[in-house]
Symmetry: C2
Subunit: 332 residues, 2 copies
DNA sequence: CTGAAAGCGCTTACAG
DNA sequence: CTGAAAGCGCTTACAG
C-alpha cells in the first residue's frame, strides 16, 4: 500500500521541526545539522515517504519530464529503430529521475508536440529523426525548449547526435567495390530524411576519385512501397545489376521477397546489402550484409546530452557515433 | 514565440477582475456573467494565454498524464504491436487533453512503473500485455491507480480489453480442418503470456467435438529463438506435417526462412499460417494466411475506457474486439 | 544550523 | 454574478 497523503508538513510536525528543515534534509541543499538530517531521513525511510514531484516541479519551475517526439506516420512508426531509441532514452531518463512523455508527429501535424510544450509538461525534448524541412525542430527552436536531435541537421545551433551514416555507406560501398563489383544500384526511401541524403553522399563518396574504375551505378530514391520495389528490381535484373544497396530493412525485405519470387539466387545472381541490421531481417537466409549500429546507445547518449543541457553544462554541438560493417552471406 | 509568463493573476489584474473570475471563465465551472466571461476569453485568445497544467494539476490533484506500460524486453519491444498501440493511445489521450508517459518494464523489473506512480505522475495507466504472473498488474492494483489492460486476465476486478484470440484461433483452425488438413503443428512463444494460452485453447477448441475426425496435432510452446524453430521445423517436415500454425509473426518469419533454406515449397509441401498480420511479414511471398485485428483500435478503446474510469463513469469489465481471418497463398 | 513567510499558478468552498 | 482567502505540496530568499 502507498502512503498517499504523507506530506512534508506532516513530517515536520511529527518531528517537531520546520518544513524548511525537512525539505533541506531531503534535497541536501542548504546547511543542516547532521543529527536532524538523519532523523528526518530515517523517518522518511520508515514511513515510505516520497515527495510530490509535481509540487516540487511547480516550485522549481521544472517538470522532470522529457519529451520524446517520434513519427506517427503509419508505416514508419513500426520500424524497430524508434523502439530501441525509446529503450535507451527511457533507461537513462529513469535513472536520473526523469520520466518520458511521448508525442507523435507527422510532417504536417505537430499538435501533440505543441500541446506538450504550451502546457509546459516537459523540460526538454529529443527528436528522433531529422528532416530537410523539419517542422517539429523549427517549433522547438522557436519555443525555446532545450532539445537534441537524433539524426543530423545543417543547423549548427542544434545539438545533434548521429551515427556516421555517410562514412558507413562509403565504407560499405568501398568494400564492395574492392571485391570487384561493377554494377550498383542504390534504393532509398524518402529524400526528405537527412539520413537518406547522408547515405547517398557516402555512396557517391565511394566512387569519387575512382574515375578509372570500371563501374556504374544508379540511384532510386523516394521508394516507399513494395510495388515500386518490384518494378525497380525487375529493371535491375534485366540490366544485370550485380549489387543492390538498400537504405533500410523494410526496402531490403521487399527486394528479397521479389528476388525469391523470381527465383533469383542471392548472392550468386545478385548481391544485396542493407542498413540497420534490425529484427525485420533477422534470421533471413542468406543473412544480409549490413551496417550495424547501436540504436539503444544512440537513445542513451541523446538523453544524457539533453540532461547535461538541462543542468546548464556545455555540450558538443555534434556527436558522431560509430558503426560496424557486417559482411554476410548476401554478398560474396 | 511563447508567452511564457502570462498567468491567471496577470490577466485578472489587466482586466480588473479577480483571479477567481478568470479561472471560472476558463474552466466554465461556477456562475459567471456572460459579459465578463467573453471579455476574459477574448483577452486570453488575443494574448495566447494557456494555463499552467502543472499548477492546475496540483490544485486538483490530477496530472493529466496517462501511463503506458510496455515491455522492455529486448526482443519483444520491437514488435510492431506496441507501436500501434501507442499510436492509438496517444491519439485519444491527446484529443482529451492528456499526455502519455511511458514506462518500460520486464518480468523482474518494474522500477520505472514504480517511480511513475510513487511520484504521482499519472492519473491512470494502460498495461499493454498480460501475463500469468503479472507483476506490473499486481503493483497497479495494490497502489490503487486506475488502469485497464490490453490483453485478458482471469482477474474479474480488472478492466480489460482484448481481441477474441481464442475464437480467432479456433475459427482459423476450423477453417483449415474444413479444407481437409490432417496433420497440424502449433508453434507458440512464452506460455506466461495470456494470449499464448488463449490461442492454444482456441486451437484445441477446433478439434473438440470432432472425435471422428482423422487429424493429429502437436504443440510447441516457449519457442523463443530461431534455432529452436529450426529444429522443430526439421522434425515436422520429417513427419510430413501439413500445416504449421505460428502464434506470432516473428516465429512465422523464422519458419518461413527455414523452409526457404530447405527449399520446401509453401503451400504445396507445407502450409503456414500466422497471427498479427504485421509489417514483419508484409510482402512475403507467398502471402501468409493470418488473423488480422486492429491494434490501433485496441489502443484507442483502451484509452477511452481509462478516461471514462477517470471521469467516474461505469465501464464494462471486459471488452472483446473482433478480428478477420485472411486466407492467403500460404494455405490452399 | 534553523524557521517564518512568501511564492510557484492554479482551484474552490465560503461569503456576499 | 463576483471576490477574498485558503489550499494543493513543495522551495527558497531572508533573517536570526
Amino acid at each position: 500500500m502507498e502512503e498517499r497523503n504523507l506530506t512534508i508538513g506532516d513530517i515536520a510536525q511529527e518531528l517537531g521541526v520546520s518544513k524548511t528543515t525537512v525539505s533541506r534534509a531531503i534535497s541536501g541543499k542548504g546547511r543542516i545539522g547532521e543529527q536532524t538530517r538523519k532523523r528526518v531521513l530515517e523517518y522518511i525511510e520508515e514511513r515510505h515517504y516520497s515527495p510530490n514531484v509535481v509540487a516540487k516541479g511547480l516550485a522549481q519551475n521544472k517538470t522532470f519530464n522529457l519529451g520524446m517526439v517520434l513519427p506517427g506516420d503509419y508505416n514508419i512508426v513500426e520500424l524497430p529503430f524508434f523502439q530501441k531509441c525509446m529503450l535507451g532514452i527511457s533507461r537513462v531518463a529513469s535513472a536520473r529521475g526523469y520520466d518520458v512523455l511521448i508525442s507523435m508527429v507527422t510532417a504536417g501535424q505537430i499538435t501533440q508536440l505543441e500541446r506538450v510544450v504550451t502546457n509546459r509538461k516537459i523540460d526538454g525534448a529529443v527528436l528522433t529523426r531529422t528532416l530537410a524541412e523539419d517542422a517539429p525542430m523549427q517549433y522547438l527552436k522557436a519555443s525555446g525548449v532545450p532539445f537534441v536531435t537524433i539524426g543530423s541537421t545543417d543547423d549548427t545551433q542544434v545539438i545533434q547526435i548521429d551515427n556516421d551514416h555517410r562514412s558507413a555507406c562509403r565504407e560499405l560501398t568501398d568494400s564492395l567495390l574492392g571485391r570487384g563489383i561493377g554494377k550498383f544500384a542504390l534504393i532509398g526511401g524518402n529524400e526528405d530524411y537527412i539520413v537518406t541524403r547522408n547515405r547517398l553522399r557516402g555512396f557517391e563518396d565511394a566512387f569519387a576519385g575512382k574515375t578509372a574504375w570500371h563501374s556504374t551505378r544508379q540511384v532510386f530514391l523516394n521508394v516507399d512501397d513494395s510495388r515500386k520495389v518490384d518494378e525497380i528490381v525487375e529493371k535491375l535484373l534485366a540490366e544485370k545489376v550485380e549489387c543492390i544497396v538498400c537504405m533500410d530493412d523494410y526496402l531490403c525485405g521487399c527486394v528479397l521477397n521479389t528476388l525469391q519470387q523470381r527465383r533469383i539466387a542471392v548472392p550468386d545472381q545478385v548481391q544485396v546489402v542493407s542498413f540497420y541490421d534490425s529484427s525485420m531481417l533477422a534470421n533471413r537466409i542468406p543473412a544480409v550484409t549490413s551496417i550495424r549500429f547501436d540504436v539503444e546507445e544512440l537513445g542513451q547518449k541523446a538523453c544524457e546530452l539533453l540532461l547535461q543541457m538541462l543542468d546548464g553544462e556545455e555540450v558538443p554541438g555534434r556527436t558522431l557515433l560509430g558503426y560496424d560493417v557486417r559482411m554476410r552471406e548476401s554478398t560474396k
